[in-house]
C-alpha cells in the first residue's frame, strides 16, 4: 500500500528466548519483562490477532485505544507508535513493522456481537471474547470481563472515511509479515488468535500465528 513505512527488524529468530505458534481460535497469555522484544508473525497472511496489554504490576492500568490514538494523533498503529495505557503509561513501543498498518477501532468478535452483526443463530460460533475469558480465568490472577477492553487487531485494515464511515478493507498483510514491539515496562500480553468465520477479515480461513520474545536486541 502506498505511503506505508515498512521497517524490518535485525533480530534473528534463532536467538529468541521464546517461540510459540498459536493456532487459530486459541488464546495466549504471557508476561514480558521491561526491555524484552516481542514479535507477532502473520504466518499465512491476513490473520487477525486480537491483542491486549496490561501493566504487569497493576492490571487496571491497561492498553487504551483512545489514549493511544490521542497520543499519536492517528488511528493506525505502525513503527514508532507508543501503546498507551488508561493511566498514561507507555506500555510498549512498536519498533519494527513489515505490514505497515494495524487497527485500533474494530475490537474483538464476541458471541453476542456476532448475533447483532450477522444473525441471532450465530451465538454458538467461537469468538475472540470467549478466548479472552478462558485465558484470564486460567491465568487465575483475579482478572475478569471488566479487564477485557477494546483491543488491537494486528494485521487488520479498518479505515475511516472523511464522512465518518468505518470500513473493513481487504487485508494488506501477507504470509511472513510481522510487527515487533519493545516492552517499556513489565507487561502482560493477552492474545486471541481470531476464529471469525462470518466475514472475510481472515479470508474465511483463520490460520496460526507465531510469537517470539528476545531478551536483548542484537546488533
Amino acid at each position: 500500500m502506498v505511503g506505508l513505512d515498512l521497517v524490518e527488524s535485525k533480530l534473528e529468530p534463532t536467538r529468541a528466548v521464546y517461540s510459540q505458534e498459536i493456532p487459530a481460535g486459541e488464546p495466549w497469555i504471557h508476561p514480558l519483562r521491561k526491555g524484552q522484544y516481542f514479535r507477532i508473525v502473520d504466518l499465512h497472511g491476513n490473520q487477525a490477532v486480537d491483542t491486549l496489554f496490561y501493566n504487569e504490576h497493576d492490571y487496571s492500568d491497561r492498553y487504551s485505544a483512545q489514549d493511544t490514538i490521542q497520543q499519536q494523533g492517528n488511528i493506525y498503529l505502525t513503527t514508532g507508535t507508543k501503546l498507551m495505557s488508561t493511566g498514561g503509561t507507555v506500555l510498549l513501543t512498536i519498533v519494527a513493522d513489515t505490514c505497515g498498518r494495524h487497527d485500533t477501532l474494530g475490537g474483538a468478535c464476541a458471541t453476542e456481537s456476532n448475533m447483532v452483526r450477522y444473525a441471532l443463530e450465530k451465538r454458538h460460533m467461537h469468538a475472540c471474547r470467549n478466548s479472552f475469558m478462558k485465558a484470564v480465568i486460567e491465568w487465575d490472577h483475579g482478572m475478569s470481563k471488566r479487564d477485557i477492553v477494546s483491543n488491537i487487531n494486528f494485521f487488520m485494515n479498518v479505515p475511516v472515511t472523511r464522512e465518518g464511515k468505518l470500513t473493513f478493507e481487504d487485508g494488506i498483510s501477507e504470509p511472513g509479515k510481522y510487527v515487533e514491539m519493545r516492552a517499556e515496562i513489565d507487561v502482560l500480553v493477552l492474545i486471541s488468535n481470531c476464529p471469525q468465520l462470518n466475514n472475510p477479515c481472515n479470508a474465511y480461513n483463520p490460520t496460526p500465528v507465531q510469537v517470539l520474545i528476545w531478551n536483548v536486541p542484537e546488533t
Binding site: 487504551s64 485505544a65 488511528i75 498514561g88 453476542e112 472523511r162
Partner: protein
C-alpha cells in the same frame, strides 16, 4: 419535546461531572448552551454494570466512526443501551477519548482549588473515576467514552483532527434509554481541542418520559443489525 413530559431540567456547569440512572422509558436531552461544548460520556447497564458501552461493537455494527440521529450505542452484550433519537449537531465523536491530569497541566498550566476555587481545572479521566466511584465502579470499569458535541475527523493516512465550530449555541442531542443505564458525564474540554485556554462550556440537560420504541422506530429500522440489537434488548426485559 412535550413540555408536560419533562421531569426536570438542570445545568451541568463548565468542567463539572454528573451521573444518573436513566430508566428505560425515559430520555435525556443535552443542550449546548453557548456553542463549542464537549460532554464526555460512559454508559453502564445499571442492573449489572459489568455490561457497559462498547466502542468497537457500536462502530462496527453500524459501520460508523461518528454518532448522530438514527444510530444506537451498544453494550458488549449485543444490547442497545440508548438510541440517538434527536440531533441538531450531526457529528459526535466516539474515538477521541478523554483528557487526563498530565495533559491538562501541560496544556493549561497548574491550577488548584486553593487559588481558583470551583474554577480549578478538571480533567476527564479523574472526573469519570470520581463519579464512577460513587456507584462502586473503579479504574477497571473505565472504558472508551463518547464525546457529544465534538467532531473528530480522520484523514486518509489515519491522522485525527479536531473539527472546529461543530456545535452551535442551542444545538442539542437526545438519548432514549433502552435499558436502565447508569450515565456518567462530564463537561471537560475535549482532549484534541486546540484552544490553548481552559474554557469548558455549560450544558443544559433535561429528562423526560419517552415511550419504548415501536416496530417502525427509525433507530430500529435503520439497519438490520439494529433490528437484531433491539430484539436482544427486548428479550432481556421479558
Amino acid at each position: 419535546m412535550e413540555e408536560n413530559s419533562v421531569f426536570w431540567e438542570e445545568t451541568i456547569q463548565p468542567g463539572a461531572a454528573w451521573s444518573h440512572v436513566l430508566k428505560r422509558g425515559t430520555a435525556l436531552r443535552l443542550v449546548d448552551l453557548e456553542g463549542g461544548a464537549n460532554v464526555g460520556a460512559i454508559f453502564y447497564n445499571f442492573d449489572c454494570p459489568v455490561e457497559r458501552y462498547n466502542m468497537p461493537d457500536t462502530l462496527k455494527a453500524q459501520h460508523i466512526a461518528r454518532l448522530t440521529k438514527g444510530f444506537v450505542l451498544y453494550s458488549d452484550m449485543g444490547r442497545i443501551l440508548c438510541s440517538i433519537v434527536e440531533d441538531k449537531v450531526g457529528w459526535h465523536d466516539p474515538i477521541g477519548g478523554t483528557s487526563n491530569a498530565k495533559l491538562v497541566k501541560a496544556r493549561y498550566g497548574s491550577s488548584r482549588y486553593q487559588e481558583q476555587r470551583n474554577d480549578y481545572h478538571k480533567n476527564g479521566r479523574d472526573s469519570f473515576l470520581i463519579e464512577m466511584g460513587k456507584w462502586g465502579l473503579g479504574p477497571r470499569d473505565l472504558t472508551a467514552n463518547v464525546n457529544f458535541f465534538t467532531r473528530v475527523d480522520v484523514a486518509e493516512d489515519g491522522s485525527v483532527s479536531f473539527g472546529p465550530d461543530n456545535s452551535k449555541a442551542g444545538d442539542f442531542v437526545e438519548l432514549r434509554a433502552e435499558m436502565n443505564i447508569l450515565v456518567i458525564l462530564n463537561t471537560c474540554p475535549h482532549p484534541l481541542d486546540p484552544n490553548p485556554r481552559y474554557e469548558p462550556k455549560p450544558v443544559r440537560l433535561s429528562v423526560r418520559r419517552a415511550p419504548v420504541p415501536g416496530a417502525d422506530d427509525p433507530c430500529r429500522v435503520s439497519r438490520a443489525e439494529n433490528g437484531r440489537g433491539f430484539t436482544l434488548t427486548e428479550r432481556y426485559f421479558l
